[in-house]
């Protein structure tokens, strides 16, 4: 991926513990409080310089986290009568507990 030199870059790289990489729109990453804080330009964390964040869980969990973040980014400010699909159906029970810990870590 070509790192965009413009600040802030429109794309952000999210990596998992076991080496999976997800490239998402910045808006999507900002749906998480923790990622938003670490990507904040003013905070001066290495994440904000490299536009890359590590979520310390395995790929399957991080994938679901990213899926949720894009879901949240899309429906964060819904129109009054817009129907929001149920994300719960998309969570496989076998990763629910790990996902719960990741969600707690990310404050989402």
């Amino acid at each position: 991926m070509e790192a965009d030199k413009k600040s802030p870059a429109p794309w952000v790289r999210i990596t998992s513990d076991d080496g999976f990489t997800f490239i998402v729109q910045r808006k999507v990453a900002l749906a998480s409080q923790i990622l938003a804080a670490s990507l904040n330009e003013d905070s001066n964390f290495s994440e904000s310089h490299s536009n890359a964040c590590n979520i310390p869980y395995r790929g399957a969990v991080v994938e679901k986290v990213v899926e949720y973040l894009s879901f949240k980014a899309q429906f964060q400010e819904p129109k009054p009568n817009e129907d929001i699909p149920d994300f719960q159906e998309r969570i496989p029970p076998e990763i629910a507990l790990e996902l719960l810990m990741a969600a707690d870590y990310l404050d989402t």
């Binding site: 986290v65 949720y68 879901f71 949240k72 429906f75 964060q76 819904p78 929001i84 994300f87 719960q88 969570i91 029970p93 076998e94 990763i95 629910a96 507990l97 790990e98 996902l99 719960l100 810990m101 990741a102 969600a103 707690d104 990310l106 989402t108």
Partner: protein, 634 residues
């Protein structure tokens, strides 16, 4: 104008009226009523001589605007009118009239005369104006409402449109034409236009009348938004918890989790306040020896009994917020948890003392740790039952915020021969110095952890002659909110030499032995002792600085900058320090803390500095050290 100046008698007047009068402002000229009166007077004058003559004849010099002392017809009528309604402009004068009876009497006949005159004048006026047909004795003619009605005033009166099919002469070309529904009215009103003239005038005769403007969004307007739904997207944690709840019966579907993660998930559930009976089964296991649930608010007594049944091998149990726990639960535990030795409960309000006593008696094994916080029904008999069963086994005792704690409890506590950790913080009534000293003299030598926070009658004496000589193994001392402590007393406790610096060898030795009385402490919490300051801090650092891991001196407002700088220099192993409300703490103090003593590897993790106004956002920071409480924009 209305009120002649010669009349010097005045009744009570409102503050506003008298103020206005002082300023020379009279309500008369500005009131709508009097304006109308003046206008009328002018009209009367304009309307001709007869009126004026009548005035001259009948009431010489008594026109509406005359300055004769006697009440004028105008005033009379006004007064009459006032019987029915109030005119704010005239309130005071009304009072004048009514509140001075003598004057009233004097003028009664005058008034009668004037009344007759006024009537005559009014009638004459009417006649002069030519509206004699309007005979009304009511004198209210001045007030008659003469404005045209809105509908008649604004719209020119249009004659009804001739019926469709009839013949009419065109207003423009005078040709006869048949009236249709499209026949327009001529634009200077009288008459109608024929088709040709209508076309020539440029108006489209077939133009439909403009459709009525429909009010848009009426439906929406009526919809009242009682609450706005925010955050309609659930958090991922909530969703996950729901998934877990749904599949709780099928534990295998949820996969394996390590014991470390179990505790973590327990905390997350508590944080989300979702720890219900069904979710709690997630943490149950026959092989469990320890269990900690951090928020049992949603666990009903049945759930707590289930807990005991499903975890029969527990040795250590910690439950927070167990407000719903009752006597039956405790009875169930005592029979089902056969290995239980460590109990830690927060908020078991509903347990009666008889239940505690039964629990202690029926336990299969004597307790090693008994820790309760906030249990108002725990009383002396309960403690005695605990002593009877666990006197030689109990290692840790916490009776935090137990309302009935008093000096009488200290003798039973002294019976615990293996006690190393004792917490008697925040009782309803403080223990006394003497009681505490006696307790420490018997069990002090084994204590490693002591918490006597919130005993507001405990002072220096308990430290000097209680803790000092007896607590020889102490590692952690927590004593928050001890308001009686003095700077000198604590300085002495930590082995300071006292005010004189000239110390002989003997004194030095003495100081040293005194300092050796208490070993260097690793954790010191003397927060919110308002009299402690520089001397105590300096002595404390000299005594324990080398091993100090945690230091809480929140609220030592008088500690000076120099002594605070000493923390960084003399406490190399400090991981946590709370400087809150130490007013003299500034960026230099933080710098000393962050950098640590020269040549040492800093292990500092957290600095609390709430209420330290001199610490700014520009203070030095270091990776891994959390600074809490810096005021932004201070």
């Amino acid at each position: 104008m209305r009120r002649p100046g010669a009349n010097a008698v005045r009744g009570p007047a409102s503050a506003l009226t008298s103020f206005l009068r002082e300023q020379g402002i009279e309500a008369g000229p500005i009131s709508a009523y009097s304006r109308r009166r003046v206008n009328q007077a002018q009209n009367e004058e304009n309307q001709g001589e007869p009126d004026a003559e009548v005035h001259e004849e009948e009431t010489p010099g008594a026109g509406p605007s005359s300055a004769v002392p006697s009440p004028t017809p105008a005033t009379r009528t006004r007064k009459r009118k006032r019987a029915g309604e109030y005119d704010s402009d005239d309130l005071d004068e009304d009072e004048e009239a009514t509140s001075s009876p003598s004057k009233k009497k004097a003028t009664a006949t005058e008034k009668a005369k004037a009344k007759a005159k006024a009537k005559a004048a009014a009638q004459a006026k009417k006649k002069a104006r030519g509206d004699g047909d309007y005979e009304d004795d009511d004198d209210d003619d001045e007030d008659e409402y003469s404005a045209l009605s809105k509908s008649t005033a604004s719209k020119p009166v249009a004659a009804a449109k001739p019926s469709i099919g009839s013949f009419e002469n065109c207003a423009n070309c005078s040709k006869k034409f048949t009236v249709t529904r499209y026949t327009p009215a001529a634009s200077p009103p009288p008459g109608y236009l024929c088709h040709d003239c209508a076309k020539a005038s440029g108006t489209d005769p077939f133009k439909k009348p403009a459709p009525k403007q429909q009010r848009k969004g009426r439906q929406d307007k009526r919809k009242i938004v009682n609450y706005e739904e925010k955050d309609r997207v659930d958090t991922l944690a909530q969703l996950c918890i729901r998934v877990v709840t749904k599949h709780i019966e099928d534990v295998e579907a949820l996969g394996d989790i390590s014991s470390h993660n179990v505790d973590m998930i327990s905390k997350i559930m508590a944080k989300n306040r979702r720890l219900t009976s069904s979710i709690a089964t997630l943490f149950y296991d026959v092989n469990n020896t320890t269990l900690a649930l951090y928020d049992c608010t949603s666990l009903l007594p049945d759930g707590l009994c289930t807990l005991a049944s499903l975890n029969p091998n527990l040795t250590s149990l910690r439950l927070d917020y167990v407000g719903r726990m009752n006597d039956a639960v405790l009875a169930h535990w005592s029979t089902h948890l056969k290995s239980l030795t460590h109990v830690d409960l927060l908020g078991p309000f509903n347990i009666k003392s008889s239940a505690w006593i039964n629990f202690f008696r029926k336990m299969h094994r004597p307790l090693e740790k008994f820790a309760v916080t906030q249990s108002p029904r725990f009383d002396l008999t309960c403690l005695e039952a605990l002593v009877a069963r666990s006197a030689t086994s109990l290692v840790e005792l916490r009776l935090g915020e137990v309302g009935q704690l008093c000096d009488a409890w200290l003798d039973p506590i002294a019976c615990f021969t293996r006690l190393t950790r004792l917490n008697l913080a925040y009782p309803a009534t403080s223990l006394s110095d003497e009681g505490l000293i006696e307790l420490l003299s018997s069990i002090g030598e084994r204590l490693t952890h002591l918490d006597i926070s919130g005993h507001d009658e405990v002072g220096d004496l308990a430290f000097e002659t209680g803790i000092g000589p007896h607590a020889k193994k102490l590692v952690e001392l927590r004593a928050r909110d001890l308001v009686l402590l003095t700077d000198e007393g604590i300085a002495k406790f930590f082995g300071a030499d006292g005010p004189s610096d000239e110390t002989s060898e003997n004194e030095k030795e003495e100081a040293q032995t005194r300092a050796m009385v208490v070993p260097p402490l690793e954790v010191i919490d003397l927060s919110r002792a308002p009299h402690l300051s520089s001397n105590a801090l300096t002595a404390l650092l000299a005594h324990s600085g080398s091993v100090l891991r945690e230091l809480h001196i929140n609220g030592w407002k008088d500690a000076d900058n120099e002594s605070l700088l000493g923390i960084g220099e003399r406490a190399p192993n400090l991981t946590r320090v709370d400087l809150g409300w130490c007013r003299a703490a500034d960026d230099w103090v933080v710098k000393a803390l962050v950098e640590g003593p020269a040549g040492t590897r800093g292990v500092l993790e957290e600095v609390g500095c709430f209420g330290c106004n001199k610490i700014t956002t520009a203070c030095p920071r270091k990776r891994g050290i959390v600074l809490r409480g810096i005021e932004v924009g201070a």
